[in-house]
Amino acid sequence: MRNAGIAIVGVVVLAAVLGPWLIPFDPSAQELALRLEGPSRQHWLGLDELGRDILSRVVSGARVSLAVGLIVVSVSAFIGAIAGSVAGYYGGVVDDAISRVIDVLLAFPGVLLAIALVAVLGPSLTNVALALSSIGWVGYARVVRAQVLQAREFEYVVAARAVGAGSPRILIRHILPAALPALTVQATLGMGGAILSEAALSFLGLGVQPPTPSWGAMINYGRAHILDAPHLTVFPGLAIALLVLGLNLLGDGLRERFG
């Protein structure tokens, strides 16, 4: 299962990286005479409502999805690792304060807070990444806090403290490496979640703005032509489902490996 995950994610990453050289057409180029045309030998996945090549837009959309996923996961994991390790290591009032903030953010279901934040900040890719990161760090903080609570009692940590190592050194050199496997699993599964959330926000018109291709936005615009040109909706949706499936398979495999 993990190998299948690696293969799927690998193909999408390759397509995203090599995209500009791979795609047969400019994703913004319009051929209005051929608008809504179905898959053909020249346009493998057909053309959209403005006569743009869907294959080129799906490949370009992979760059957007992966970029948002990577930014959200990196920022969330960074903030979460700091907040979780500080809360777990110092305990007491610091832990209480951070845990209460986490409790409040966890009281908002799923991407709802992100929807609200983007609604007030204005729709854009930057605001989507900002909104998803501002709620995403909570999951990482909880994982790291639990790991740090365990690790701070390990003998090698007590020994490091006894020989006079400072708190930052103990946290960075001795405790955080122990939390890395759990953090990696969380990041892999979190990347799938971030990509789905970005697509959902773009579907609602709150994410990537035209003409930049985004899978969620493509499904949203495709909905208007779902009866006469279902390929507008089917292919971007397949791309999302495939990439998220690959990340879930990979995350599951890593979880089994790291226990």
Binding site: V101, F108, V111, L112, A116, L204, I219
Partner: protein
């Protein structure tokens, strides 16, 4: 149990206060002048000043905050800028539709997930188990806003069996409920498989089988009840996903609920209604989690709260 409940309720107060504070802060995160943002760049200055006064934005922040909390204590969520009606009234009118959809999605999810999870656990390691795993992983990975339109094409348009928009009889709720419940059933079936498989390996189940209990009896009467706690916990946690998913599903199927109201309010920059919808959904989520905690005792008498 009552003492535990009282303590849990007490601990919920700071969380509710935090949620209210965050929702209050939302309107102040709007770049520039919130009143100008709501009315648009071409609105006359006099209208902007009037709206600022109406929303209390001309008051000091502390005064606004106290007034906001005071309003909440009287269930006053402000006035909708789009309709002029109280936000609470607007939300209450749509609440039954969202509740109906959430319950229907949960019913769909549980009625698919539990049999699928049980089958996968009983026949663990077989083709049936692998098929169930692939099916549930596909379900988790499939975005609801993609599945919804696809279901509408097949069952609404091509086959003409079901209506694809609006709220009415039972036939109207089937497609939105399946679309919303699909991902949920995938998550729940995986949890059912894992927890039930663990229970089936426990000595009490082996002993029951040794005494001659059939597979069905050992699974349903002995192991299944003990595997219910993680399933109920996850189902409770998934209420959040259902409420978020409802925002999208209601938009796709023109279902007149709170989620659709939220999206419409975002589109028309009706921020008091956006605040009200977000607050209501968050409070509902907190309430459901509290109820799930209390359900544990009913499901497992071994759990005693101090």
């Amino acid at each position: 149990m009552l003492r535990y409940l009282a303590r849990r309720l007490f601990l919920t107060i700071p969380v509710l206060l935090g949620v209210a504070t965050l929702v209050f802060a939302l309107i102040h995160l709007i770049p520039g002048d919130p009143a100008r943002a709501m009315l648009g760049d071409v609105a006359p200055d006099a209208d902007v000043v009037q709206l600022r006064r109406l929303l209390g934005l001309d008051q000091p922040l502390a005064v606004q905050y106290v007034a906001f909390l005071g309003g909440l204590s009287r269930a006053d969520l402000g006035t909708s800028l789009r309709t002029g009606a109280p936000v609470a009234t607007e939300i209450l009118a749509r609440l039954p539709a969202t509740f109906e959809l959430a319950v229907a999605a949960m019913v769909v999810a549980l009625s698919v997930a539990i049999p699928l999870g049980v089958i996968a656990a009983v026949w663990r390691g077989t083709v049936v188990d692998h098929a169930a795993t692939v099916l549930s992983l596909a379900g988790v990975s499939m975005p609801g806003f993609w599945l919804g339109p696809l279901l509408a094409i097949v069952f609404g348009v091509e086959l003409g069996w079901l209506p694809v928009s609006g709220r009415g009889g039972l036939e109207h709720i089937i497609l939105p409920a399946v679309s919303l419940g699909a991902a949920l059933s995938a998550v729940l079936s995986r949890m059912t498989r894992v927890t039930l498989a663990d229970q089936l390996a426990e000595p009490y189940v082996v002993a029951a089988r040794a005494r001659g209990a059939s597979t069905g009896r050992a699974v349903l009467l002995h192991a299944f009840r003990n595997s219910l706690i993680p399933i109920v916990t996850l189902a409770g946690l998934q209420v959040g996903a259902v409420l978020t998913g409802a925002v999208i599903t209601e938009t796709i199927f023109a279902w007149p609920g709170v989620g659709r109201l939220l999206v419409q309010s975002i589109g028309s920059r009706d921020y008091p209604t956006v605040q009200g919808c977000i607050l209501l959904i968050a409070v509902t989520y907190i309430g459901v989690n509290l109820a799930v905690d209390c359900l544990y005792v009913a499901l497992d008498p071994r759990i005693r709260y101090r």
